[in-house]
Each structure stands twice: as structure tokens, then as C-alpha cells.
Amino acid sequence: MQHDAAALLPERFVKWFSERGWAPRPHQLELLSRVQTGSSVLLIAPTGAGKTLAGFLPTLTDLEHRPRRRPGEARRGIHTLYISPLKALAVDIERNLTKPVGEIGLPVTMETRTGDTPTHKRQRQKLVPPDILMTTPEQLALLIAASDAQRFFEDLRYVVLDELHSLVTSKRGHLLSLGLARLRRYVPSLQAIGLSATVAEPDELRRWLVGQNPPGEMADLITVAGGAKPEITILDSEEHVPWSGHSARYATPEIYDAVKRHKTTLLFVNTRSQAELLFQELWRVNDDNLPIALHHGSLDVAQRRRVEKAMETNSLRAIVATSTLDLGIDWGDVDLVVHVGAPKGASRLAQRIGRSNHRMDEPSRAILIPANRFEVLECRAALDANYLGAQDTPPLVDGGLDVLSQHVLGCACGAPFYSDDLFEEVRSAAPYANLDRATFNRVVEFVATGGYSLKSYERYARIRRTKDGAWRVSNPRIAQQYRLNVGTIIEIPALNVRYVKAGSKGSASRGGPVLGKIEEAFLETLTHGDTFMFAGKVLRFEGIRENECFVSNAPGADAKVPYYGGGKFPLSTYLAEQVRAMIADPARWKNLPDQVADWLRIQAEKSVLPRRQDLLIETFPRGERHYMVAYPFEGRLAHQTLGMLLTRRLERAGARPLGFVATDYAMAIWSLGDMGQMFKRGRPSLGQLLDEDMLGDDLEAWLADSWLLKRTFRNCALISGLIEKRHPGQEKSGRQVTVSADLIYDVLRSHEPDHILLQATRADAATGLLDVRRLAEMLSRIRSRIVHKDLERISPLAVPIMLEVGKMPVHGEAGDSLLTEAADLVEEAMG
């Protein structure tokens, strides 16, 4: 529909556009007109389409003709709430919006409120609210839990939700959907405006934006077609493409060459360790001393800000970044995106490539750098998908019960609630639309007294039902505790990394600057003198004291200890399918580099190539051991789960398995017994071995003790408020005082296996760390489609995963066997 700008926009706006020789884009006017008729709207548009301005036009035009506040008149509340997944994005949007607001001359105030906002500013915001408040989901949860929430939000008209596609797929999205439901209760006429990149199922997001009463209600949809097709190429390296690994070190000279030929290059990698490595490698060959910077989430904030500033002023030639720069932050004049390592998902690739050349009508330029041969296939598949416009954002899952628990307590902290009302409100949030009343009641019971069948905590209840039937917090301390623990982002315990002089252990002096934070789990495996890469430097580990890790400079040294190796994101189902299809179809190999096509050709000669829907399993002896390699292409998480379960089964069948490794593409098990012979004789047959029933008892039995489930439980326990987050400074209180989540898990599982939190944990694990859902789909797909090839020696396709054997930590319940090794060492030494 065409709109007349002059009819929709106030004069000042029309003038502002025309003075700049611009015209409002059709989708901007369309959105404005829909919102003016009272609808909520989802805007799906590629980067550079002017989404932000579109999202704020309803607000700005509405505020334009609002009469000035007279002295003595009551202060107005928030008019528009803007919510983004990243603090940096909120700050960035404020900056981007200030300019047009000033130029148009609008009497509009706007402020950000994030975890970094000082207390005095937050207090002032409560007294003198800005017209537009830019914030994050966690801050919204906090605002709702305040006793003045209703009053604070009573003038609210619009909520603008940015990068909605990335928000909705996580627990943060669940929390936000509940917050939105609460806001709709305060202001029934509230309108939501969602801004999103292209997604597979827009209707899911449309439902998400509006109250689900009646169920199925959807926001209006405005879709802006993609701009110019991006020009994406895969690096056809002169060098030998490695069999395995994730560093892409072989391509450094070619990457550097590309950087030299462009104004500003954004180099994306999947993990922090890859970022560190690539940064080091680039500087090794940086003969021209080009300004190349590093940006990832573990670096110290001040350092990140410096890089962002330099980016803004176009004083950098290249920046190596992880997903911290993923989302729609507009910086500088990027004319090339280099993606190192496989993109793992077609949508992710599209998003990242959108960073380059932020004008919709000009094509973005990008180069993909596969780090190994399987990644060549994956990049090719992703590339084809991008041209096809395929999307593979993960399907939305039902809202977490741990998140709901947190929200229920938050609501009670804000104001007393009635169960009936809150249930209706919660069900109006799309992720909770299927929630049944019994489960809701159990959640409320959990919040009140822990929800245990042994009702011994009645007198310690956190919320109580009073005579009028309303639930209230039983004392103000509960609300205080709640505020400290709000949010769904579980921080992995991390230590500050501080510079000291070599050998000083930090005891003598306070030491130098803090470089950033590193996970405790990684630091725990280091000993004095170990070297590793961080913050773009090679560092020597000096020691840990309290919550700081001391390091010294080790220039020129080789980093001895690798950070966790692989990619962080598992291969998406869609891409996995594409990779299988490509392997199965020799006609498509002409698009592959020669060395990779040759690799597949030799595989076909020496073994066999799996057809698109088949599962290939190879067995072969090597050294003293027998190997079984499966190629499901279902992503690392699902393979890891498969490996655990198959190892158990093979153990029972007498194959004496010793260990397994999993990558995104394949899974290998090694054993003392000859598995090839066993499968051929059908004892067990591969069909039996890979039967779907492994997801029944075997899964249950293994899950019970799995560290993966314990870790999932810990997250649920933290989010639901069963245990409290560790806050800086509390570490000193001593470990023997705190109750670890593992201990709670063990006790709860043996005494009340049906407890609601264990239910939440299992649901999480199935979609999260274990990816059981995907494994189940795979097992049902390959039923009677298993191709077994018993070989005399390793096949070409098996080389990549065989190289990982020994490099990757062996998974499993190896605690006691490691202790045995250590104890045996001692015995040997002591005779």
C-alpha cells in the first residue's frame, strides 16, 4: 500500500526528510499507519533498511504533538520502552536517535538504563522518567518487581523490541515475554513493535508480540524484501586445506591480503579462542603495521569501548570479533566481512554478512574461510542457502518453568497477586500459552515453600496467601534477595586476569591492569609457567589468588595450552542436511576446491559415500584398537549424546569401548573388541545398536549421573531462585559454607525425582546441551538406512575425526579412572 508521507507525518518530519534529499521509505510509513490504527506490528527487514527509525516513528510523531507540560502539572511516565538484547545496542540506539530528534527539534527526552547505569541515575529516572527509556530484558524484570511499577508504566504507549529474532529463542526471551504480559496488564492498550531480521517462521514472532487471548492472535506483519544480493565467495586457497582443526591458520596470508585491499574489514570467528589465535597470526604477518584490533566478550570493558570508539571513527583497518559484534550495531564503514570457520547456520551467516556495507541497495561483500575440509562443504552449503534465502533459526520452545518461577516471585515483590489473574496473564505470553493450571500451581508452590512433597517449610514460606486470597512476599528481605538474583544469563564463574611482573605471583604488589575475565574451569587446569593466549597476547600463568588470576607477559613464547578447541555453535539441522546432500551428489562437487573434491572421490573408491538419507558407519582397526566412525552430521551436541549412549551399549555387548570423540560431523568410538566383526555377525547388529529405544532407559540411566544434567540443573536452580548467584566478593566466604548445586541435585533426585525443577531440567537438557530432540529425529530417520563398511584401514572421510582423537578431552564419567591413573603414578614412583 502506498502512503502519502505528508498525510501521515507532521510537517517538521517531512521537512527534515526533504532537507536531506531523503524520502521516508514505504515500510516506515506503512508501519506508522498500522500503529496509528492501534495495531501491534512485526517489521522484518534486512540490515540497512532503516529499521530503527521505522520503529521509533510512531513514538516521535506521537510525542511531537503532545502539549508541553505546564509547571506544577504531574510528571509524565515513560511513553516508549525500547528493549534490546545488548547493553551496547541500547547505548548505540540512543546515540543514533539523538541526532534526528535534535535536527527535527522534538521535545523528547531519552535515556538508557542498563546494569551499568549508576544508582543515582536510576533513582532519578524513577522520579523524572524520560519519554523514551532504552533498556534490556533484565532491567525490565527489575522494574516490574518494584512496588511503584504500575505507576511507573501507566503512561506507556509503545514497546519497541529490537533484534527480536535473537531474543525469542532463549530464556531471556521467556522472561521478556512474561514482562510484556505484565506491561499489558498495566496498560491494556499497549502496542508492541517488533524489529527483526528474516526468520523462518514469522508467525511465531507475530504471536509472541501480542497477548494470546484469544490464542493465536497475531501482530500485523510488514516484510521488506532483501536488498542487493551479497557477493560471497569461499576462499579457494593455494595452500593445503587442513583435515581438521579450527584455526584456519593456513589462510592467514590470504586473509591479510584481503584486509590490505579493503578499507575496513570485519573478521568474524565462532569462539574467543579462534579470535585470539587469528589476531596473533595476523599481527605476525602485519608488515605494514595496519591497525588491527580484537573484540570479544571476555575482554575488559574499557578495552572493548576503546575498540568500538576507534571503529566509529574509522581508524581501524580490521577488527577480529566474536558474536559480541553480531547484532545490529552500526559502526564505521565496513566494506568487507571475512568469516573464519564455518558459519554453523545459514541465518547466522546472513546476519553477519549484513554488517558490511550498511546500505541496503548495495551488495555486501564477504569471504568465507573454511578451517578444515568439512567446513569447506559446510561453507559451500551455507553459501547456497544464502542465495536461496533459506532460513534456519531454531524453532521456539515452550517457556521454561525456572524462568516462570523467577517471574512469579518478581510479581509478588512488585504487588500482591491473585493466582487466577496471574495464570491468565502468564498464558497470554506466547511461550506459556500451553501452560496448564496444575503446573502453574506447582510453580507457585515452588516459589512459596520449595514445592516439596514433604511439607516442612510452610513456616519459612517466601510468599504467602493472605485472607483475601492474594499472594504477598512474606518479608521485605525476600524482595532484596530477588533483586540481586534477577535475570536468566548464568555467568560461568570467571576470574579477573591481572598483569604482574614475571615470577611475582601477585603477592608483592597489586599488579598491573586487568585484561579481562577467563572461566575458572579453564584456569583450574593450568600450572605455574603454562602459557596461553588472551587479550591478543601470549601470557604466562603465575597463579591464582582469591578471585584474580595473575599472568605475566610471555612475548615470543608459543602458547602451550590451547583454549577449548571447537566451534561454539552446533551445526544447524538445515545446513547438516545440505552438507549430506552435497556429499551424496558428485555433480555438485565442481563448486568445491579441487583438493576437497578429490578427497570425496578417493573416499568413494576406498570406502563408500553415504546417500543423503543414509547413515554411514565405518569400522577399522588401527594400532592395538578398533574404531567405529559414524557420520550423522547432526552437530556436536547430538553426537556427544550419541557417543555416551553407544559407549554404554557397546560396553554391555562386550566390545570393551575405551572412549569416544564427537565433532559437528562425525563421532568415533574406539575399543579393544573388534566392533566390525560384531556388527557383521549381528551381535549386536547396527540396527539394534542404533535403535531408538536407546533414548529410553539408557538415556535415563546415563542422564542420572551425567555432568551435563548437573550443569543444566545448576542453571535452572539459579534462574528459579532455589540457590543464589555468587556475587563478586562472596568467594571469600569459603567453599565449605556454600551448598553446591550438585549436592542438591543428588539429594533431590533420590528423594523427589518428579520435583518441578527436575522436570524443568530434563526439558532443558533435551533441547539444550544434549540435543536429544535432534538425536531422536536422526535415529528415526536412519532406521534401516544404516550402511556399514568394514575396512582394513582408516578411510579418507575418517581422517578429520581421527585427528581429534587424543586432542580433545575424552568425555564420559572418567573421574575415577583419572584418579586411578594419578594414584598409580604415585604408587609407581613410591614403589
Partner: protein, 229 residues
């Protein structure tokens, strides 16, 4: 060094470090258990942390099985038997009965701890500050200076090793052959690494061994193999 069955000598006395976290002296028919922290769950619940109320049940169940195995003449609960001084009063009746059944027919000593300085309410057994038996002395908090034959608790020792890039952290008995600090037994008890400053000066380091609790045996690990954290 301990045998595979976890038998060690403490100040000349034969003792079995049981992987379930108790110490048994076969020649004395004496079982020692430390830091039960009964009713820790309900203690935390009073502050709004609603942990599953099954810790006392779980702790007693494990203890019951051990007592049935060894059938000791004498049991010493080495302090912090209850998580707070009202813990014994809060103990639900079924658990009180179960505990009394375990105590029947043997000598039972409650060593006073910092969490439970007074005698437990409504329970038999004798409450003592410390207890000397032969060359051994049992007290809750380890003395700051080396004392031969001292068996203590309080510190909740654990140890950590790194093997092939993976870290294993377990509760342990900490000993240099002269004295010993017992692991905490309670289901909700955390633990403190033996390399922490809190242990400074307690042991002769060159003879120090952490007897780490495995799922089916004890692992004797020399001090030089241990890692902090």
C-alpha cells in the same frame, strides 16, 4: 601409603579410610564420622533459601548403612553434628527415632563443634569437648600446632588433581601420618581445598597425603600432585 582398602596408620594406630567418608579403627571397634550438619536444609530455609528438605534423611540413610556394615562398639560424631544450635530441636521425630535406633547398643559420643556447642536436645549419647582414646585424641577443630594422634574435622577437606587436561575434585581425608582431618559427611556440606591457607602449619608437607574419596575405593594422592582451587 594406604593399601587399596584404604588402611593407614595414624600415630601407630591402624585405621580404615572408608570411601564413604568415615574412619574405622578395627582394633578399637571405633567408628568416627565428622560434620554431619544435620538439618542444614531447614537452617537455610529459615533465611528463605528453600533447599530440598531431604538432607537429614539422606545423611542418616548413608550413616545407617555404614553402621550396619561395621557394627562398631563405639561411634564418635566429631562435631558440627547439627548445622545450628536449634537443629537438634528441629529434628523431625522419624529421624530422631532412626538416629536412636542406630545409637542403641553402642557407646555414642557427640563432640561439641562450633555449629553445635551444646549437647543435642532430646538425644542420648554423651557430649564431650574432646576425647582421648589410647594414643588418639578426637576434637572438632584441629589444633594450630602439630599434635600426634589428633583426629579432627571442621575444615571439610577436599583435594583436586588434573590429569590429561581434566580436573577431578573430591572430598578427602587429609593426613601426614601423625594426625588426620576427616572429610565432612553431611549431604549438603561443601568442601575446602587442602591447599587453602586454612590448613597452613597443620601437616608435615613432605609426608602429606590426600586420601580422596572415589565411588568404590580410596585414592591416595601425594601432596605434590595436588592443585589449588
Amino acid at each position: 601409603m594406604a593399601g587399596k582398602d584404604g588402611t593407614i596408620l595414624i600415630a601407630g594406630e591402624r585405621a580404615v579410610c572408608d570411601q564413604r567418608g568415615v574412619l574405622f579403627f578395627p582394633d578399637l571397634g571405633l567408628l568416627a564420622v565428622s560434620d554431619l550438619h544435620l538439618e542444614k536444609g531447614s537452617s537455610l530455609a529459615r533465611r528463605g533459601v528453600l533447599l530440598p528438605p531431604y538432607d537429614t534423611a539422606a545423611t542418616l540413610l548413608r550413616l545407617q548403612a555404614i553402621i550396619a556394615d561395621y557394627n562398631p562398639r563405639m561411634v564418635i560424631s566429631l562435631g558440627d553434628s547439627f548445622h545450628d544450635s536449634e537443629g537438634s530441636a528441629r529434628l523431625p521425630d522419624p529421624f530422631r527415632d532412626r538416629l536412636c535406633a542406630m545409637m542403641a547398643g553402642r557407646d555414642w559420643f557427640w563432640v561439641a563443634g562450633n555449629h553445635d556447642p551444646d549437647a543435642p536436645a532430646g538425644l542420648p549419647g554423651e557430649t564431650v569437648r574432646e576425647l582421648a582414646i589410647g594414643g588418639l585424641v578426637f576434637r572438632h577443630e584441629p589444633s594450630a600446632v602439630p599434635v600426634a594422634g589428633e583426629i579432627a574435622g571442621h575444615l571439610h577437606p577436599c583435594a583436586r588433581i588434573v590429569q590429561r587436561g581434566r580436573s577431578v575434585r573430591r572430598r578427602c581425608f587429609a593426613s601426614d601420618g601423625d594426625r588426620l582431618v576427616m572429610p565432612a559427611f553431611g549431604s549438603y556440606t561443601g568442601s575446602l581445598n587442602v591447599l587453602d591457607r586454612a590448613y597452613a602449619g597443620l601437616f608435615r608437607w613432605d609426608a602429606f597425603v590426600a586420601y580422596m574419596l572415589g565411588s568404590s575405593r580410596i585414592f591416595a594422592i601425594a601432596g605434590s600432585m595436588l592443585r589449588p582451587g
